[in-house]
Symmetry: C2
Subunit: 456 residues, 2 copies
Amino acid sequence: MSQSLMQPLAYLEEHYDRFQEELIELLRIPSISHDLTYKEDMDKAANWLADKLRSLGINKVEIFPTPGHSIVYGEWLNGGVSAPTVLIYGHYDVQSPEPLEDWKSPPFDPGIRDKNLYARGASDMKGQTMAAVNAVEAILKTENFPINIKFLIEGEEEIGSKHLNDFLVQHREKLACDFSLNTDAGGMPDAGTPSICYSLRGGAVFLLQIFGPSQDVHSGEYGGVVQNPIHVLSKLITDLHDDYGHITLAGFYDKVRKIEDEERAELARLPFDDVFLRKHSGVPALWGEPEYTPAERIGARPTMDVVQFEAGQPKSAIPAKATARVSFRLVPDQDPADVDKQFRQYLEIHMPPTVRWDLEFRGGGRGIITDRKAPEVLAMKDALQTAFGKDPIFQRVGGGIGAVLMLKQTLGIDSVLTGFSLYDDNFHGPNEKLHLPTWKKGMAALVYFFHNLMNK
Amino acid sequence: MSQSLMQPLAYLEEHYDRFQEELIELLRIPSISHDLTYKEDMDKAANWLADKLRSLGINKVEIFPTPGHSIVYGEWLNGGVSAPTVLIYGHYDVQSPEPLEDWKSPPFDPGIRDKNLYARGASDMKGQTMAAVNAVEAILKTENFPINIKFLIEGEEEIGSKHLNDFLVQHREKLACDFSLNTDAGGMPDAGTPSICYSLRGGAVFLLQIFGPSQDVHSGEYGGVVQNPIHVLSKLITDLHDDYGHITLAGFYDKVRKIEDEERAELARLPFDDVFLRKHSGVPALWGEPEYTPAERIGARPTMDVVQFEAGQPKSAIPAKATARVSFRLVPDQDPADVDKQFRQYLEIHMPPTVRWDLEFRGGGRGIITDRKAPEVLAMKDALQTAFGKDPIFQRVGGGIGAVLMLKQTLGIDSVLTGFSLYDDNFHGPNEKLHLPTWKKGMAALVYFFHNLMNK
């Protein structure tokens, strides 16, 4: 181990307790981007991060307002003109914590139990963001750093990174870099197995509304003559799948990229088998396309899920409307615009004459797939191997990260995707947690990563 | 017209403005039985009615507490030992007014527009209750009344008359009577056409819960391997009907009484045709069993409606559970206990292995059908003919009235069922209204009715 590598690693060790305290401080701020009543907390979190970056010696830190939540930007360009430039991405917003009654400790009052830190945002991704910040601090404080660093930390990841793309367009030159490091693509299958993500699913989200009677009507008076919008919506949802879990939209699978044999072999290394997934989800049996393995279905196959169905009241009435929030997960090379057309066509054909309806496209993006042999990816592979003592798994991740897509499409920037969240960290659910020993190893891995880049 | 009949009719005329003011006073009390935050208002409404009954000269008025909302009871037994005794039923509770934004004027700030009084409870059934109270007042204040009167006004009709049956059992002797008059069975097809109801649908209400993952899980991470409880519930709901609107539970129709030819002819008098029902409900097309007319489907055929479907959040997660409130409307001679068994059996057969589930029977009752030739029914028929100048329609009503069933089953008491609400009064929906000219004629009809009883 080189002298210079020992110093930042020792620094991490020495300052670990403070890092943990600081993370807890950040986690106490309920920065829920979805709910505007938390606007002040969003600003508080942004300011907290800006102050934090300044404290490392990041010499240009700015908070950029957007029509939504602010973006925290910081840069340290003392690496030199010929040094590589890494754009470190993060987000400080979190999902809403409902249902609150399912949390064992309050979501914004972090608690440590059994080496896990429980709080909303612990894993997704305040913990991940701070891992990168802390790794940079350890290097900046202990050695010469022949790499230029830019931080881009947004506040709208959980609501679709609504204003990020405009920001990228406006600040194209400021954001110029060799690649982006994104630690939001976690999901390590277990604490011993690091991972690199090389593909993300995209998505297409819709709001489907079915309108029946002009207002709620008594189910005694109208039951038998007025078709219930809940029943109509239920049938439309049901018929979107065949009996084998395939989506029935005409043309839906036309552009789905076939899974290569080499990928199938790599995906087979993932421990996402029946037992693992049942244990982590709590379902009595899995479901899905029988001709694909669970890991393939999660990473490499498109899906459709109704994430919300809202209709009616606890009273004896046929409701005036029924609403579903429909979320498609898309894979390369599907196009959300195609899915919009296909979904509309399906509804036009299948809608009964008893109702009126409206479909609103609420946003989406293509899936991405990146080069597993790019030099920065190999630098990360090596760093993870060193920190965890095990070759990382190359995986396709089922979620999507709008920022990764936008950086690629708008600025042509590729992302190195990793993260130190565990598969059972309950992001978006109650009892979100961060496994602290893994988090600590993750910080070390990022120090190795920067060193691998220096030595190139 | 006999001298004595002229006096109460003149009294009604003379005091009409006061009656209207008093009804508005009662309607200002938000006596929502469903929501315990309105408990004080419930008590206020009960006290208001008790005071009102005392003011007519009803000499024994009591408020009986129940484990839920109180029952207002009053009796006037000066008609004589050999005189008939009529138990007048009413309820002072109302449905919750949500969604509030659909009301043109606030639900508890009554407003008169175009001869209609708009308020929650105006038609169902504070207006109907007060019609009977006012008719009794008009007679008691102007003439000798050779009929004994008992008032039974409950506060839990809209939540299934939960504590009424216990009250009936406890006060069996106090409640002894020849028959009950119930003006909660309204739904006049139009302001010119009175109606008598001779059959009510019963019901069976269930809460069906589908449990998927042990908590909400990220739809990117688990989409494709965890079956969504919303999808499971949607399919179960969908498969409860065949393509012709028939319910698919095995044995469901076994005990459904055939509609007699004479009834079909009477039901055909109802103006509930395609145009009428589309106009009043606002749907673009009707729905239901094609071999029955709309009026038959509403009154004489059983139905199933999911009145509430609740699941998920506006976030990208597969929810841990999905819940449906399922309401069957039953007709003679179906038994809710049979439907409970049939529904459970259906779920056992159709439930996929990917979920857990729970079905809770939330209450129900059999439908009823009464003698169209009973003397009190003929007295009402004649009274309505006199007041409205038109023979009443004998109809089967699609809703159910627990009190009618309990009086019959527990005390053997038959009910004369009528009412002065119009079919488009929006009970249970926003903008509930009472057509005031019809209400006024209704009071006169009740005066005629009591006179017909006297003259028997």
